[in-house]
Symmetry: C2
Subunit: 223 residues, 2 copies
């Protein structure tokens, strides 16, 4: 490993601190997008759905900027050890936030496409409301984990994610049960919406696992 001079180290620390702040902000924005997407879905709110779809541009710009800053930092500062892990963990996490953004947009697009008929039949509404709430909570918790560098955040978020997975299984029981009377199209939509929530939650857990990796140096576990 190559040491770096004190002045360079201070510049590096400042940039890493700023990257942390921005990554947490991006993660919170993704959470807010999913809150809005869920609300657009449950209320068949076209305006809110449009807002989610267009607001992705802001988050993507933020993510592109973070990615670029990581690359520049690697070139100019050649960080080592924990600093290097922090840069690579940030690059991984940026990829997760980008996907979370797209998944929130997918939920919003279903809300937009199905308006004015609300796409979620009554028996599924509480399940998706809970999944949306948990997904958004996971994004907020991941952002907090980034800031606090909590090594246990990965496991804690994975526990919440277990409930998301259980809710997804519940959607299939409802869809494939004898009481389902809403036909094919809402069932196909619901299968996809459940998938989008599940993946969104997975990405939030992946970010928290990157934080754990950063603090402990142990590779993130396979989900």
């Amino acid at each position: 490993m190559r040491p770096y001079p004190l002045a360079m180290r201070e510049t590096l620390r400042a940039e890493l601190g700023s990257l942390t702040t921005e990554l947490a902000r991006a993660t919170r924005l993704a959470g807010q997008m999913m809150i809005n997407a869920s609300r657009a879905l449950s209320h068949a709110d076209l305006g809110l759905a449009e807002l989610v779809i267009t607001s992705g541009t802001e988050l993507w710009t933020l993510c592109d900027d973070l990615d670029q800053r990581c690359a520049t930092l690697l070139v100019l500062q050649a960080p080592v050890a924990t600093d290097l892990r922090m840069v690579t963990a940030t690059m991984h996490a940026v990829g997760d936030v980008e996907r979370m953004c797209t998944l929130a947009q997918h939920v919003a697009k279903i809300a937009r496409m199905k308006r004015p008929t609300a796409p979620i039949p009554g028996d599924l509404r509480p399940v998706f409301a809970r999944m949306g709430l948990l997904a958004a909570t996971l994004a907020q918790d991941a952002a907090t984990a980034i800031e606090s560098r909590d090594p246990l955040s990965g496991d804690r978020l994975a526990e919440i994610d277990d409930e998301v997975d259980a809710l997804r299984r519940q959607t299939f029981r409802i869809l494939f049960g004898t009481d389902w009377s809403h036909g094919v199209e809402p069932a196909a939509d619901a299968a996809l919406i459940g998938r989008y929530y599940e993946r969104f939650a997975d990405h939030a857990v992946a970010i928290a696992r990157q934080v754990s990796f950063l603090v402990t140096g142990l590779s993130p576990e396979r989900p």
Copy 2:
């Protein structure tokens, strides 16, 4: 940018060459997994479905190894310019291959879960057969792009991906058409299978775009 001595550069070049070879191999393995998953699905072949599901472990180990080698290379060689881009592009691409692996497993798991009743009704079979073929072709093309460093591969694969997206829209037309008589469960499965193929293809395109980025230095376009 910091220069590095000639001997170190040769070590670096050798390691980068080896990373390229292994990344291409991993991408081809993902393509083979999707070929097998598609066959398991269309033939309701339980043995092949199980093979896909278990063979993911091999690919994940390969991906973990690649990721670790990239991190080590960043620490020990502190690459700059094109070399650095190659390492970061490889890290991104490894993430894509991991997802392709998981998506092939998802297709195989639906094939396993629905056996002995084949999950794909007749009218959807040719559509999914074509999607599976295109998805696997994209993985092979992405692997070739990695080896040949073709700067145009991103655009070329994106064109093939357009057909995958068109086929996905076709599945919805079939599912939501008046002729659909197979009920809710195959419709929900089909919605998800279409999504898995689509995402698999997206990841292959993302890899090719990383190759273009590597050669041209221009950031990969937003899909």
